[in-house]
Symmetry: C2
Subunit: 205 residues, 2 copies
Amino acid sequence: MTQDIRTEPAARRPGGRSARVRGAVLDTTLRELAEVGYAALSLEAIAQRAGVNKTTLYRRWGSREGLVLNAMLERGQREVPIPDTGSLRGDLAAYATEIVVASRTPVVEATIRTVASVGDREPRIADASRGFWRTRFEFAGEVVRRAIARGEVPPDTDPNLVVETVVASVYFRLLLSGDELDDGYVDRLAAFVAAGASAAGGAQR
Amino acid sequence: MTQDIRTEPAARRPGGRSARVRGAVLDTTLRELAEVGYAALSLEAIAQRAGVNKTTLYRRWGSREGLVLNAMLERGQREVPIPDTGSLRGDLAAYATEIVVASRTPVVEATIRTVASVGDREPRIADASRGFWRTRFEFAGEVVRRAIARGEVPPDTDPNLVVETVVASVYFRLLLSGDELDDGYVDRLAAFVAAGASAAGGAQR
DNA sequence: CCCTAAAGCAACGGCGCGTTGCAATAGAGT
DNA sequence: ACTCTATTGCAACGCGCCGTTGCTTTAGGG
């Protein structure tokens, strides 16, 4: 979401009705996505619920994918705070918990599932997701850099790998295995990954 | 896929036409799923390509979800061989590579994406996926048990956690971040997780 | 060689798709 | 206040797929 993915004509009349329509449509799109899922998403239903004509959707966003992408970009800027508990293990556990909580929000969950389902055939959506995770990992890498500064893990530790491993495990359970995402698991996961970082630095070659 | 998820009337005439129809439909379903994705899946198209009447699909499988589920169950029995390289790190790298290769098969990738996209609103599909991963992890845990036997990792190491962490990372890149899944990454991942197991045993408490 | 389970066939109303031509409206610039 | 034009609304279109129904045909198990 850092790079400028132009998917919508620049607003020449940014104020007033256009902006209202835009906001209503994007909000409604995410709500519908959360309620019925991407496979059953109906542009007619979105238009109706948003109090907008169907024609407007096609004229402004071109296609279902364009609309969904813009809705996700608009409302997907959620920043997740970087914890600072004093230990890598604690930070990873706290961060994982934040991810779990966020991923249980219907809109967030629907967004993730949509990306997973169309990531191979909608390059613009895949690109947006890639950018999103890239920046998110850059921020979250802070917990590893602090651990390095504390001497808790080797200086050649790869922050990305550490954070990615934690995040990946959470989403695997959410999307595929369906196993529980309780505090017990989060703690064990954080301990395990933190131990790996201490031992290997995540940059073994 | 171990437990008996009955989603289809028991075949009273298992030989001959019924079996042929069944096979053709399930094959075609997965092919279509791979080509157009779950969101655009058309039962009419499946029937036509399979040389079967549309009515048959609804009478036998009831709904789109039932059909997709059975297709996945039927053809999803893929066994992944458990590597034995002599070291946990080597085994995990080999296993991860197998997963990467398998996940690039169009049918397998389509299946995974389908599960991820409807896992929250199709309990039968979610259950099947859960069972699939449970048994797969049980088998793959062998690499960890051997590492324990070799004294490479602590005896209280949790085999599931170790294997799951590796698998999860692969699927995260495939489904969400889109980052590369080359040998370099697989090696770093395997080294990192193996180091975590050596240090923590994955069962910290 | 039967006879019945299973598959084929034809048609149904309904709905969402994506597009089109034209009318209404609202907001930005003067 | 007044344009004037970008934007939205509106109505209607053909199309394809949905999921179902009643009936006929067929094939394979006994």
